[in-house]
């Protein structure tokens, strides 16, 4: 029975999506269709609450524990918020195939859940592919826009290329251990092959997470994809990919050699530095947020680098991940609400007058990304991650990280400044009407960003449990 229960949320989503594909066709172009999709996500979340933890190691390739449950909930909630907040925007973006759109989103989410729940490499790979394939399609779903197709193509080719590396890594692991399971095998001696297999999986997953120097797809895809899709993927893909990365790395850490240190250190530094430096140059907000996501992934990786010394590093990373999700979903959702083609900084100039709510939320999110009060989530996450880095003795890394976060303020601030302090171009001064659902979702996000930081203990307890269940206390 174990295998069934662990499969339940995924089944809910995937079977549900199938049902939706059929019934949604009947409800086409009504709000009901969208709400049916939301209902499915809610049901999945409910399922996540119900299912029990796996006893021992799962034999069906999936495992339920605090870690996967937490991240699954985060992914689902993130998906829900992004779908709800962009519901109105999707129609405005000219995506004709709403039915397929929600279907693909639901399947992408179920793929993400597979990545989160996986306990063997085959599930991991299938999960990655399910999520990726659905997202390739979603990126191109604004089919009449050149950049949408372009982003889809780039994502597809690069994604498949990196999947090949991931797969080669899995093959090497299999070759070395004779098993596809993610269980550390005491009998298998540590050798170069395992080492290389980890490096290859790292490369493959670093691509999915969007770590420099495997980040090239991120800006292009984030910018080219419809904003609603970007909103969705910025959260769901990030969570799932980090879950997978964490699983792989924790497995890697069980081998005594500090093999990971150099590679992860370099990845983190490159991601932070290149991400921030490039973001500094952007005039396109989506692109800037994309580069920022690269940089933020770098900060999170700082937590993982310190993981070698205990589960607190993972906990810090998870905390960061959760608060980052809230901020990034919110930022993109605001952009989506501003308009289907809102991208350049000029498009949000004067937003404070056109819609104080959107501008206010945007400011909260961007301050959070910059790690400044009053959006305390950003600050406390940085606090946890950097303090883990320090306690692990990674002073150099911590210094690079904080200098980067200071540098990042330069571009994060540009957005609130444009929203509040610069006047709108003549042709876009009319107020923006924000649908109630969007407003609600955004306010919730903003509240989360503030409150997670102000009262971090509950979430901190959760991520600690999660980290313990992943690493072992």
């Amino acid at each position: 029975m174990n295998g069934v229960t662990s499969f339940a949320p995924i089944l809910t989503l995937s079977l549900g999506s199938l049902v939706y594909l059929v019934t949604g066709k009947l409800l086409e172009r009504t709000k009901l269709a969208a709400f049916l999709a939301f209902g499915l996500v809610v049901a999945a979340i409910a399922m996540l609450g119900i299912i029990p933890d796996s006893i021992g190691e799962s034999e069906y390739g999936l495992i339920v524990n605090d870690f996967s449950r937490l991240l699954a909930v985060v992914a689902c909630v993130g998906a829900l918020v992004s779908l709800v907040s962009t519901r109105a925007a999707v129609e405005g973006e000219g995506i004709d195939t709403l039915n397929e759109y929600y279907f693909l989103a639901l399947t992408a989410l179920s793929g993400a859940l597979v990545m989160i729940f996986c306990s063997d490499f085959l599930s991991l790979f299938i999960g990655v592919e399910v999520a990726s394939l659905a997202l390739y399609c979603l990126c191109g779903s604004r089919i009449h826009r050149g950049i949408s197709a372009e982003s889809s193509m780039k994502y597809f080719l690069l994604g498949c290329f990196s999947s090949a590396f991931l797969l080669l890594g899995i093959a090497l692991w299999y070759g070395a251990t004779g098993s596809l399971s993610m269980v550390p095998l005491a009998a298998v001696p540590y050798n170069a092959m395992i080492f290389l297999s980890f490096l290859m999986m790292l490369v493959g997953l670093a691509f999915k997470v969007g770590l420099a120097p495997f980040h090239f797809w991120v800006p292009d895809v984030y910018q080219g994809a419809p904003t609603s899709v970007t909103t969705f993927m910025s959260c769901v893909v990030k969570v799932a990919a980090f879950a997978a990365l964490l699983k792989v790395l924790v497995l890697g850490f069980t081998y005594p050699q500090p093999w990971s240190f150099g590679a992860l250190w370099v990845l983190a530094v490159l991601a932070m530095t290149l991400g921030n430096l490039a973001a500094l140059q952007q005039r396109s907000i989506k692109r800037m947020l994309a580069y920022s996501s690269v940089a933020q992934a770098g900060y999170m990786l700082v937590g993982i680098v310190s993981t070698e010394y205990g589960s607190d590093g993972v906990a810090a990373t998870l905390f960061y991940l959760v608060s980052y999700c809230a901020m990034t979903v919110g930022s993109f959702a605001v952009l989506a609400a501003v308009g289907p083609d809102a991208d350049g900084v000029d498009s949000i100039q004067g937003l404070g007058k056109r819609s104080p709510l959107l501008a206010g939320c945007l400011t909260v999110f961007f301050l959070g990304l910059a790690g400044l009060p009053p959006s305390m989530a950003g600050l406390t996450s940085k606090l946890f991650v950097f303090s883990e880095a320090l306690s692990a003795g990674l002073y150099g890394l911590a210094i690079i990280a904080v200098l980067n976060s200071a540098l990042a303020c330069a571009y994060y601030f540009r957005i609130p400044v444009a929203a509040f302090f610069q006047s709108a171009p003549a042709q876009q001064t009319q107020p923006i009407s924000v649908p109630l659902t969007t407003a609600l979702a955004l306010v919730l996000c903003a509240a989360a960003v503030v409150l997670i930081g102000l009262f971090p203990e509950p979430l901190l307890a959760l991520v600690r449990d999660a980290a313990d269940s992943l690493v072992g206390p």
């Binding site: 009060p373 210094i399 307890a461």
Partner: protein, 541 residues
């Protein structure tokens, strides 16, 4: 002292909530009416805050010979040892009162940026709340949060209503402070992490891993740690203060900001740096501070002279005030470096006094330059006859800026100079160059603006300062002079707190010195014998 309700949190929350309330009318359609309402509202809130603060201080004072100390604690992130710890002692009282007074003055000042409306009051109140928070917090993380947060309302006001280059100025301000403060952030985390470990072994039930008073008793930081962590703290505070040569953000920021913001920034934000060094750096890194003292003194003294020299070359009134701030705050740095009770008390007094004086100067010059439509001193002149009241107040505050006796600045500068002389006579002498140059640029500015023949015939538009503003300036002037004639009350409230800070530092140094005596070969910390003795004497007293 247990009052039953958290009075210090209220001191912070009152203006914060008041400011947030003002955010609503900012977007209201009836801007003028809303603005007037908000003005009254903000004045009430700010006055209440001042009253509350005074009441808390009064209540905390209790018996005359008991040290003022009101504190409250509340769990924030207990699993990491982060607590919402606030303390009001003589040191923080001085700065919090300054904050309240200056905020009230800026809020009451009639001239504010055109089209500012309710947002102006909102941002100022929020700014007041954050600065108050920074002055009250003893938990390093809480302090850091306020330290960062107080930047934002000022930046917003600057970006909204500043001069033509406001965005660049704001960005520069932001980046300078951020680069400075993130290193401190890291240092705080390191200290907290270490503190958590060290304090856990003591077996206390609640671990204030980030609380400065708790941490300073542990003496857990070795010389190398003190060096790097202390450096991080110092740089953060040095940028904020600013200490030469980290003042690159300052001229442009003061040039571009609206008067009120400039006054607020100059009078209060910089003081957080001074306060931070005394409150945090001195007890946490006593050995390092002792080592760094000569360098710090040098920077302070050079700052005094350099700021004054550069101020002499200015034509823009604001730039002049900016550099004069650098110069005057150099005295504070010098006093802190000297680390005698007299000098540090003087430094605090000087900081408070500079806050009052510089805020008033920014406001008066602001009113004048607005009226005349230029900030170039060379194109001003002959105003004394046209605006006698303004000229009078400008004279009073210029005199105070020059630190003539019976103004508060004199007391501060005098104590700093006398107190620093015994430690660093050479650097104190350098600072004295600034005393002369200070007179030069201040009087030159006054001469250029006020004296000389009238430029153009008086018109109806150039009315003199009006009722409310005269009241504000009068109050500030009265404070400056009262503090100059009767400073003993303030001094005797500040100095015990300073004594405590110094004793904490000295206690740690003493231990280090003892450790050194035991292991004479490890001569990593070179302690100046004379000052060590005095430090020991003080701590034992």
């Amino acid at each position: 002292m247990d009052i039953g309700w958290p009075p210090l949190s209220f001191v912070i929350l009152l203006p914060l909530i008041g400011g947030l309330v003002c955010l609503g009318p900012w977007f209201a359609p009836e801007r003028d009416a809303a603005s007037r309402l908000c003005r009254t509202w903000s004045l009430v809130v700010s006055s209440l805050t001042l009253a509350l603060l005074l009441a808390v201080a009064q209540g905390g004072m209790g018996a005359p010979d008991v040290l003022l100390s009101v504190s409250e604690t509340r769990a924030w992130i207990p699993s990491l040892g982060i607590y919402w710890n606030l303390t009001l002692d003589g040191l923080s009282l001085a700065f919090t009162l300054l904050t309240c007074v200056v905020s009230l003055a800026v809020l009451a000042w009639s001239a504010r940026p055109a089209q500012a409306g309710a947002g102006w009051y909102s941002l100022l109140l929020i700014g007041q709340a954050t600065v108050l928070g920074a002055f009250l917090a003893t938990d390093l993380v809480v302090f850091y949060c306020f330290f960062e947060a107080m930047l934002l309302p000022m930046l917003a006001a600057m970006a909204l209503w500043g001069g033509p280059r406001r965005f660049q100025a704001a960005l520069k301000f932001l980046l300078y402070t951020m680069v400075g403060s993130v290193m401190m952030f890291l240092a705080i985390l390191y200290i907290g992490w270490k503190g958590l470990g060290v304090l856990a072994t003591h077996g206390a039930e609640t671990i204030f891993a980030f609380d400065v008073t708790t941490l300073s008793t542990t003496k857990m930081l070795g010389p190398d740690e003190q060096l790097w962590l202390g450096l991080a703290f110092l740089i953060a505070f040095a940028v904020k203060t600013p200490i030469v040569p980290l003042h690159g953000w300052l001229p442009e920021a003061y040039r571009e900001a609206p008067h009120g913001t400039a006054a607020f920034t100059a009078a209060l934000l910089g003081k957080v740096g001074i306060y931070g060094i005394i409150r945090f750096a001195m007890p946490l890194f006593p050995g390092f501070m002792l080592e760094a003292a000569p360098h710090l003194a040098a920077l302070g003294a050079i700052g005094v002279a350099y700021g004054a020299a550069v101020a002499m070359a200015q034509r823009d009134v604001r730039s002049l005030l900016a550099y004069s701030s650098v110069s005057h705050l150099g005295f504070c740095v010098l006093g802190i470096a000297a680390a005698t009770e007299m000098a540090v008390t003087g430094a605090v007094f000087q900081a408070v006094s500079h806050g009052l004086v510089t805020a008033a100067l920014f406001l008066v010059f602001g009113a004048i330059t607005d009226r005349e439509g230029t900030r170039d001193m060379d194109s001003l002149g002959g105003l004394a006859a046209r605006i006698p009241v303004g000229a009078f107040f400008l004279m009073v505050f210029s005199i105070a800026a020059v630190a003539l006796p019976l103004t508060s600045s004199f007391v501060g500068e005098f104590l700093v100079i006398i107190g620093s002389w015994q430690a660093f006579p050479q650097w104190t002498s350098v600072a004295l160059i600034g005393v002369v140059l200070g007179a030069v640029y201040t009087l030159t500015a006054y001469l250029k603006v006020m004296f000389g023949p009238e430029r153009e015939p008086a018109t109806a538009s150039d009315a003199d300062l009006q009722g409310g503003d005269v009241l504000v300036l009068g109050a500030l002037a009265a404070l400056v002079i009262i503090l100059g004639i009767f400073p003993q009350g303030a001094l005797s409230s500040i100095s015990p707190a300073i004594e405590v800070q110094l004793a904490q530092a000295a206690g740690s140094v003493e231990d280090e010195a003892k450790a050194q005596l035991r292991a004479p070969l490890s001569a990593e910390v070179t302690v100046q014998p004379a000052r060590l003795e005095s430090a020991i004497a003080e701590s034992s007293r």
